[in-house]
């Protein structure tokens, strides 16, 4: 198991901890559990080194990539297109964007996440992970 997969599993353990009432943190962990799983796929399936991944996520090095989250959504959209899984590429890209929005609201806005937001975050996260598990090496 790569360390990114281990980190992803830890994030989902926190996100799925039903005894925790810290909904903002749980939404945060649904998002980063997905990001860490995407890093795991890039490393294991796409054979990218940690430096390559880091450089692609850095807008100062790769100006066209737009940062970690924009690059990840774009990379998987285009990669799934190449594999002829165009609808899953669109779904994954959209779900990443929706989960990112919930995560930024959870982390940076004045308002608190509600149980309905947690439900939504879990649904989007489950969809992202199901596509990654279906189309890439575990």
């Amino acid at each position: 198991m790569s360390n990114w997969l281990s980190k992803s599993n830890q994030s989902f353990s926190i996100a799925n901890d039903t005894s925790s009432t810290m909904l903002n943190n749980r939404v945060h962990c649904y998002y980063y559990g997905c990001v860490q799983h995407m890093f795991h796929v890039l490393h294991i399936d796409k054979k990218m080194s940690e430096t390559e991944i880091s450089d692609n996520c850095n807008p100062n090095i790769n100006k066209g990539n737009g940062g970690t989250h924009t690059w990840l959504a774009k990379f998987f959209f285009e990669d799934l297109q190449k594999q002829s899984h165009v609808f899953e590429g669109l779904a994954l890209s959209n779900k990443v964007g929706l989960l990112k929005r919930l995560r930024t609201d959870a982390d940076y806005s004045m308002s608190n996440m509600q149980h309905s937001d947690l439900n939504t975050a879990k649904e989007h996260s489950d969809k992202i992970i199901s596509i990654l598990l279906k189309r890439y090496k575990k």
């Binding site: 959209f77 890209s93 929005r101």
Partner: protein, 127 residues
């Protein structure tokens, strides 16, 4: 140089002309630094022709604005946007089944949290 918002406004007008039963709303969300386009109703959003149109639009968007994010959503995605503009197809909400479904949705009970699960018994109680 065209801005992402101008590009999307032009594209969404074309989309609403082609898929006349939809409504498209746009918002740029500062916190997540992304462009959000909500397309309703869901039964149109999920159609293959419209999905293909979204894929083509996203591909072109990434070609012109490689450092920007574009996200499509619909009313069933659990995220509310604050639209900067809305464009409606001429036949939006003219289908009675769409109007009926939209009104009935407010009467359907949903679990309150991700930790709640409805048993058969609780459905009976809700009914």
């Amino acid at each position: 140089m065209i801005t992402p918002k101008e590009f999307l406004e032009t594209q969404l007008r074309k989309l609403a002309n082609k898929f006349t039963q939809v409504q498209c709303s746009y918002e740029f969300h500062n916190l997540s630094d992304a462009h959000y386009v909500e397309i309703n109703p869901f039964k149109e959003f999920d159609k293959i022709q419209l999905q293909e149109h979204m894929i083509a639009m996203l591909t072109e968007f990434y070609q012109i604005f490689p450092g920007e994010s574009l996200v499509f959503l619909n009313e069933g995605d659990g995220v509310k946007i604050n639209p900067e503009f809305t464009i409606r197809g001429v036949n939006y909400m003219k289908d009675w089944s769409t109007i009926l479904l939209k009104n009935l949705q407010s009467y359907i009970p949903e679990p309150i949290s991700a930790d709640d699960v409805y048993s058969d018994n609780s459905y009976a109680l809700a009914a």
